[in-house]
């Protein structure tokens, strides 16, 4: 299937680079209306297919994150084009200014009304993939075949590759109209010791908007409880080699999954 060039999918609006509390990029009205509507439709259909509103949530492995999550796989990536594509991977890597490997982890997140606060973290952690990646393709995480957190593979002939999250993206979609006080925003923090309530900056979950940032020792952020409306988003991480990140921030700054 012929793919629209990303340039023709974007709305043409300018994006914004913020310096505080850590460098990050934001954009609203990211895609043209029909592109956004397709993404939202596919997201909603996926929630319906998995009876998400019925089964509740907290299906993910991290009990601190009160959300229903579903990883995007090669079979579902096309539904959420352009996110899980080499073009998009290269675009956001260039915008943030980091050398990335082509490995992408990501998924769909759904927070029902009243979901608990997340915790303040920086996303600078390792991830395991079922093989290396070339210069023009991508390799998606495959949690069933190669555990993203541990690198344990179902097939013993697979040689897993360990890389580090280096670019994070959250794209908000399929949400009701948002207003201050509704919560469900992404709080940005100066330190991991800040209280969740006292975010230095807040990114509201407005449809067709996004935040992108480099995962660094200082990129502290957290989901904040959504008091009034559901909160839905697509999340995505691009990765860099352990050597690249270690040289930049020190190996000790890279977290392992616990």
């Amino acid at each position: 299937m012929a793919r629209d060039n990303i340039a023709t999918m974007l709305s043409g609006q300018r994006w914004f680079e913020y310096e505080r509390p850590f460098r990050h990029l934001r954009a609203t009205n990211v895609f043209r209306r029909e592109i956004y509507e397709t993404l939202e439709l596919n997201f909603r259909n996926t929630l319906t297919e998995f009876n998400v509103t019925e089964v509740g949530q907290a299906n993910n492995s991290d009990s601190r994150y009160d959300a229903w999550t579903m990883g995007v796989t090669p079979s579902t990536a096309a539904l959420f084009y352009p996110f899980f594509s080499r073009e998009w991977h290269d675009l956001i890597s260039n915008l943030v200014g980091v050398a990335t490997t082509g490995h992408i982890d990501g998924g769909l997140h759904h927070h029902r009304v009243g979901s608990a606060n997340g915790w303040i973290h920086n996303d600078l952690c390792v991830g395991w993939f079922p093989g290396p990646c070339g210069a023009t393709n991508i390799v998606l995480s495959d949690h069933a075949g190669c555990n993203y957190s541990t690198g344990v593979c179902r097939d013993r002939h697979i040689e897993p590759v360990c890389v580090v999250r280096s670019v994070a993206l959250i794209f908000y979609l399929a949400n009701s109209d948002w207003a201050p006080g509704y919560g469900g925003d992404t709080g940005l923090y100066e330190t991991p010791f800040d209280s969740i309530q006292n975010a230095s900056a807040s990114v509201p979950p407005v449809n067709n908007s996004l935040i992108i940032f480099e995962c660094t020792p200082h990129s502290y952020h957290s989901f904040r409880s959504n008091l009034q409306i559901e909160r839905n988003c697509i999340v995505l991480w691009a990765h860099s080699t352990v050597e690249t990140v270690s040289a930049k921030f020190g190996k000790a700054s890279i977290a392992k999954w616990t």
């Binding site: 990303i6 340039a7 974007l10 300018r14 994006w15 914004f16 680079e17 913020y18 310096e19 505080r20 934001r26 954009a27 675009l91 260039n94 915008l95 900056a201």
Partner: protein, 244 residues
């Protein structure tokens, strides 16, 4: 030489537009409190084309410089003045555009909102006077001649609610705060006439709506270049006219 303008309420619709438009000709110090202004380029936020990564810095010789401050705190007010003088060496125009525009309801419920209405009165009427006085104390009192030469002045953004009573909206304290600002503006003009600092207030009708935000910015630009002082201007569909 570029004029230096301090704008409070830089994250608001009007404050943002003032910063954005005046930055072509003025050096701007924008003051915000809670929300970081993102409608114009500054040292903290810059827009770019995601496909080319090109920024628009070339449009403005000097990006607005933003500082976070709580106008209800004396130390923050002093810091605004100190940062302005440290960065630009002078101040030519102070635009007090920060305001609490909420309506707190009928006056019989004042006890329920006492802290809020006190804050509103302070922010809307007293804080502009304190900031103007700080600039006088730190800088403007030094030279009436220079103040006259550079046509230095204060513009307080008030409201038509400070001129008229609109029953049934619960805007008593908002209205009172703007009426107080109008009178205080006239007193500022009177008290600082001896050091050649002008002061005026503008009272727009609702914007954007009955008039465009751009019309309010136009009026600020007009007043800055005028010789008017001690006037309260109503700004509506018919344009601008002095009410005193």
């Amino acid at each position: 030489m570029r004029r230096v303008c301090v704008v409070t309420g830089a994250a608001g619709k009007l404050g943002s537009r003032i910063c954005e438009r005046l930055s072509a000709d003025y050096n701007i110090l924008g003051v915000y409190h809670q929300n970081l202004p993102s409608q114009f380029d500054s040292q903290l936020v810059q827009s770019f084309d995601p496909l080319t990564r090109e920024t628009v810095q070339c449009k403005s010789l000097s990006l607005p410089y933003l500082i976070k401050a709580d106008l209800k705190k004396a130390d923050d007010q002093k810091r605004i003045v100190e940062v302005c003088l440290a960065r630009f060496g002078k101040i030519d125009l102070l635009v007090n555009a920060a305001a609490d525009i909420r309506f707190y309801g009928e006056l019989k419920y004042t006890w329920s909102h006492l802290a809020s209405v006190q804050d509103q009165l302070f922010l809307n009427a007293i804080a502009p006077v304190l900031l103007a006085s700080s600039f006088v104390d730190y800088f403007w009192k030094k030279s009436a001649e220079q103040n006259r030469q550079f046509n230095r002045n204060i513009i307080n953004v008030s409201s038509v609610s400070g001129l008229n009573v609109y029953p049934g909206f619960g805007q008593g304290f908002y209205s009172a705060s703007k009426a107080a600002l109008n009178y205080l503006t006239c007193h500022l003009a009177s008290e600082y006439e001896n050091i050649a600092i002008r002061a005026n207030a503008i009272c727009p009708v609702d914007f954007p709506g009955t008039i465009a935000t751009e019309a309010v910015v136009d009026e600020i630009v007009r007043l800055d270049s005028s010789k008017e002082s001690g006037k309260v201007f109503l700004l509506d569909e018919g344009g601008s006219r002095a009410t005193n």
